[in-house]
Symmetry: C2
Subunit: 302 residues, 2 copies
């Protein structure tokens, strides 16, 4: 089994990047696409995100051997229902959502008896919409596939080969474990970034203008993440509630311990932690998961 | 009054960048430097961070009309004492420390009766040591000068002109207000980043290897800040305790409110905050305080 006709539902950052990556790297594979928003469809057509933009979801998925849902995780079920009547019987239904247990449940409810293989490419930027995607987004990134119990082995292999073809590295994982891991490596970082940016913009004794001016001290890093798509992230937190609250509890415990160390002037505890965290950065870079240039390669000066 | 002979004490990221920036942008100004660590002095000599590396602090500051202390804020007092006997009577004593009230006190104690004008260029990267500095670090960044009450107006103007000469924009501020503003825009972001990176590396149910592999989901951004110099940051938290604890309290309140919203499934509260924070990112970019390229201009693909 090999994927040769891909339909992409939702043409924002992720959907657009999948479409561009397929066209750039998998010349034998055809692409169709649909977005509920007609202005997004127009923009997608202008940028050539996929070969054929259709005017309905069911038209877009007709004849596709793989459908990739690239909509917020809270919209998966309705998107799946919308395309259902056009689906060919053996199509693989997959997605790019950031929570996997909830998506597996939503798709199983909307499309009983279908071949559903959820997936999550761990890649993105803070930008969103049909103008944001690019063909190299998945290169060197991991794509986590979370096959439900009893899923067709050939379909899993075909989906894995598809993602490898887009430049990603593929890992298989249980959906629950995925949701826990991503709570740590993605959801809590986003929640914290949104929070601190909100806190900073609501102070009385420090003006918003001061927060912006002196943001190069560290704050600006958080503003990037906190500029991510609001609907996508609302849905992530609502759909991965258990793991997020669990990990948030651990973070808060650790933060309270540091707060106590600061209050009591315990420099050793601070220094020990601050030394340990440096090694993690090194590993992230060594494993090709971040730019090794200082400051992410940001521009300094003209 | 014009600064023409600068001595730099401490030749890490900041000291090295000041030395290189002076040589690149202020050809009439001579530079001397000293670092307590002989291996740092050798590396600084090899890179030409300043024109003359001296073997003692008092020798480095002899004849200087401005001394810039570029050591961790907890080392300011001892560095000041070490150079005291070499100081010319009218030299301006300044620094680049991230907390200003504590530095003003430390320098006033170590050098009574001297012209002390603390300053803080809000610029840096996660790298440290004599290999990390570069001449354009201060371009377009703000340098906050916190003149003590009754400070010599001519000295303040000379120091402001010096930083403007290095490409920075200068702002005057009361030391206490500086410490509050920087607690928000720099110290709390660092504390949070150190905490989450520590939390993630200490979990039992998610492996360190998984944390690294899937860090592109957001976590990797935090590892950059959490790779910053441990001694420098230990000292910042110990020396700006009041403002840090105050701002940490506000952050924690806001985080608790979001936690409650997630638990109760209150998507509207989440969406409202996530929409609001996007505007802050826009302002940071519009005011030239961050790279406008997606993902800070990180490399994606080959």
């Amino acid at each position: 089994m090999k994927i040769t006709r891909v339909a992409i539902i939702g043409l924002g950052l992720l959907g657009g990047s999948v479409g561009l990556a397929v066209q750039a790297r998998l010349p034998g594979v055809t692409t169709t696409g649909y977005d509920r928003d007609p202005t997004v469809r127009d923009a997608a057509r202008a940028r050539g995100l996929v070969q054929h933009i259709c005017d309905s979801a069911s038209e877009a998925v007709r004849d596709a051997d793989c459908v990739i849902l690239c909509v917020p995780v809270g919209a998966m079920e309705s998107a799946a229902r919308e395309m259902a009547e056009g689906l060919s019987p053996h199509a693989i239904i997959s997605d790019v959502g950031s929570s996997k247990k909830s998506v597996a449940d939503a798709l199983a409810t909307a499309l009983p008896g279908r071949t559903i293989i959820p997936a999550h490419p761990v890649a993105g930027t803070e930008q969103s919409g049909p103008g944001a995607g690019f063909a190299t987004l998945f290169e060197g990134r991991w794509c986590i596939i979370t096959p439900p119990e009893g899923a067709d082995k050939n379909a899993i292999d075909a989906l894995a080969a598809f993602w490898t073809g887009l430049g990603a590295k593929v890992e298989m994982m249980d959906a629950d474990h995925h949701d826990l891991v991503l709570a740590v490596t993605s959801h809590i970082p986003h929640l914290i970034a949104y929070t601190i940016v909100g806190t900073a913009s609501d102070l009385e004794d420090v003006t918003r203008s001061e927060v912006i001016k002196y943001s190069a001290g560290g704050f600006r890093d958080f503003t990037r993440i906190a500029a991510s798509d609001p609907v996508m992230w609302r849905d992530v937190f609502l759909n991965n509630k258990g793991a997020v609250l669990e990990m948030l509890g651990r973070f808060t415990e650790d933060l309270t311990a540091l707060q106590r160390a600061i209050r009591s002037g315990d420099g050793e505890t601070l220094h020990d932690l601050f030394s340990k965290t440096r090694a993690i950065r090194r590993e992230v870079i060594d494993q090709g998961q971040d730019d090794e240039r200082a400051d992410f390669g940001r521009t300094h000066g003209e």
